[in-house]
């Protein structure tokens, strides 16, 4: 009896190139992650600060529209607060006070443009550094730990690597999942905030005056995204238990923050102690510090003191580099150490990922 040929039937259509696997892994991962109620709630929460900040843009532009900018600036220069925008009033006050103190402009129009640029920059920077960076750490902590550890636990890597999917496509696909989340939490709200500012301003010329801010926001998001995504995935690749990866993620942020706070406190104590040598001198403090203890003003880059220990904490390192991107602080000794630490984090995480993702296949 002749046997029928029922073997593999080749696909007659056009196969997608290997790099398309990145998109498949990313979209599937996002679809799975989106099933989590907690993620959906966190993403919703992540957009709420944008409303708060948008109100501040509106308050500023309303003041400009109503010709109250001069009186507001004078009030800020005298140390008064600006009501009506909550704690952002302090940021605005500090920024306007700074603008008044440093500005030397030929015309009122030029002064307005410079002031607007300064206010918008500080508000956007404060938005990205304070609520969004923290929310991003929480959201990535919800999603990232299970991305690779789940595959290790379920031995799903067998499914991946018996397809024409390479290590690079796998890692890029996983990164794309987190990159999309980063974009939704930081880039899109920042751009939406800028657009909202343009829409509540008196003229579309404002967009031309501040055209660089969305680009800086994108660059600042990339600075935030790359090391944090790589670090989160590296932790995820090191264990089959996602909660260990989750703990390592949160513990890194917490421990580094605590170390940074302890060392900054030590610097402060030394600076004010008659036993110690003053660490901060005039050269390191070109601008007047913000109102005491105001964390949001510090997030806006209004604290001009050199952060010696920023390199030790991912949050602070990212903040300093973002400040440089937004034109706040360009001193090399302020920026270089955090840049180096972020580069080291990224490189080490990439190496760990490359080693771990190859490991199951080698075994």
């Amino acid at each position: 009896m002749p046997l029928h040929e029922v073997g593999y039937r080749g696909w007659a259509g056009r196969l997608l190139p290997p790099w398309a696997a990145v998109g498949v892994i990313a979209t599937t991962g996002l679809r799975l992650a989106w099933k989590s109620r907690w993620l959906r709630r966190a993403m919703l929460l992540a957009w709420s600060p944008a409303l708060f900040f948008a109100a501040s843009f509106f308050a500023f532009e309303q003041a400009v529209e109503e010709g109250r900018l001069t009186s507001l600036t004078e009030r800020a220069a005298r140390g008064g607060n600006l009501d009506g925008v909550g704690i952002l009033g302090t940021v605005l006050a500090d920024t306007l006070g700074r603008a008044a103190a440093t500005a030397e402009h030929a015309t009122e129009a030029e002064r307005l443009v410079a002031t607007r640029k300064l206010v918008w920059t500080r508000l956007l920077l404060a938005f990205m550094r304070a609520p969004q960076a923290v929310l991003l750490a929480v959201v990535i902590g919800l999603v990232a730990p299970a991305l690779i550890s789940g595959d290790l636990r379920a031995k799903a890597w067998l499914v991946y690597f018996t397809r024409p999917v390479g290590r690079t496509e796998y890692i890029l696909g996983k990164m794309a999942i987190l990159g999309t989340i980063v974009a939704v939490i930081t880039v899109l709200p920042a751009i939406a905030l800028w657009l909202a500012g343009v829409l509540v301003s008196p003229s579309v010329i404002v967009a031309a005056q501040t055209w660089d801010l969305p680009l800086r926001a994108v660059a600042a998001s990339i600075v935030l995204a790359v090391p944090t995504v790589l670090l989160a995935l590296a932790y995820s690749s090191l264990t089959a238990e996602s909660r260990i990866a989750s703990f390592a993620w949160f513990a890194t942020w917490a421990a580094c923050w605590i170390a940074h706070s302890a060392l900054t406190t030590a610097d402060l104590v030394a600076a004010t102690s008659h036993h110690g040598v003053a660490v901060a001198d005039a050269a390191d403090q070109p601008e007047p510090p913000p109102r005491r203890g105001h964390w949001l003003a510090r997030a806006a880059g209004l604290d001009g003191a050199l952060d010696r220990w920023a390199w030790m904490s991912p949050y602070h390192a990212v903040g300093v580099v973002q400040g440089w991107i937004f034109g706040v602080d360009s001193r090399p000794r302020a920026v270089l150490p955090p840049v180096l630490s972020l580069v080291v984090i990224s490189l080490v995480s990439t190496a760990v990922l490359a080693w771990r993702v190859a490991a199951p296949a080698r075994a």
């Binding site: 919800l142 260990i244 706070s261 302890a262 060392l263 030590a266 104590v269 102690s273 110690g276």
Partner: protein
């Protein structure tokens, strides 16, 4: 029924020893080692940064933030939070839940293991940190920190038992939230609400035992409770008992469908 049957305390001890045995893996030991070395590293760096400008009191304050607060909280997050989730993931929940007093023994035993593991790591961290600092009377300060570590571990492990039984699959994130809201938000509100927090008790004991009451600025006095030390210890004991009892009561009633086991 066999004559050599034992009760709940023996079951709790059995679970505690079993959980401690499970913790003796390389990844867990590495994490514990990092937790042990971290405070000493920070204190060493802080001392050098301040170039001798850190007084003994300031060093003690820093060490308090590092060990009874940070190290203990982080250690308990990784040991206490997965009390139930671990069993569900490993497929062992059904085995334990069908033992007499299995649920209670699991929760209280895991609490005990978390306290022992984290407490030991924190005490070793204290010894190491004291060795690299210039704190006066290091032995007395070390003993004080051992007591603070014990209270911190006992009370906060009981606090984390609640999210561990209510939201086992999200226990870590829930515990971070509970820790922040209860210990670091409510704990710093100078009102009735902070009486039910461990952080107020620890701060107050620190100030009392270090003799800082008179040195504290007036505005900082709001953040401590000037009651005698024994009352703070009793408060932590009562809080621990109540939290554990609530967690046990919740776990006693919880049902996990077969699909919850991975």
């Amino acid at each position: 029924m066999s004559s050599d049957r034992t009760g709940l305390p023996a079951a709790v001890w059995t679970v505690a020893m079993f959980q401690l045995d499970r913790l003796l893996t390389w990844p867990r030991l590495v994490m514990a080692a990092v937790g042990v070395v971290f405070p000493a590293g920070v204190m060493l760096a802080a001392g050098r940064a301040a170039r001798g400008g850190l007084t003994s009191d300031v060093q003690v304050a820093l060490l308090y933030a590092l060990i009874p607060e940070a190290v203990c909280m982080l250690g308990l997050l990784v040991t206490m939070c997965p009390a139930v989730a671990d069993e569900l993931e490993r497929g062992t929940w059904a085995h334990v839940a069908t033992r007499p007093n299995g649920r209670r023994a699991l929760l209280v035993g895991t609490w005990l293991a978390a306290v022992i593991w984290t407490g030991m790591a924190a005490i070793v961290a204290t010894a190491l940190a004291l060795a690299v600092t210039t704190i006066e009377r290091p032995v007395a300060v070390g003993a004080m920190f051992a007591a603070l570590v014990a209270l911190s571990c006992v009370g906060r492990a009981a606090l984390f038992a609640i999210p561990a039984v209510v939201l086992p699959k999200r226990a870590l994130v829930a515990s971070v939230g509970v820790g922040l809201v209860v210990e670091y938000l409510a704990g710093t509100i100078p009102a009735l609400v902070n009486q039910a927090t461990v952080s107020l008790r620890l701060r107050s004991l620190l100030v009392d035992w270090m003799g800082w009451k008179r040195k504290l600025p007036t505005e900082m006095q709001l953040f401590i409770d000037p009651q005698p030390a024994w009352l703070h210890v009793l408060a932590v004991a009562v809080l621990t008992t109540v939290l554990l009892a609530v967690a046990v009561a919740i776990l006693d009633r919880r049902q996990f469908p077969p699909s919850d086991e991975v």
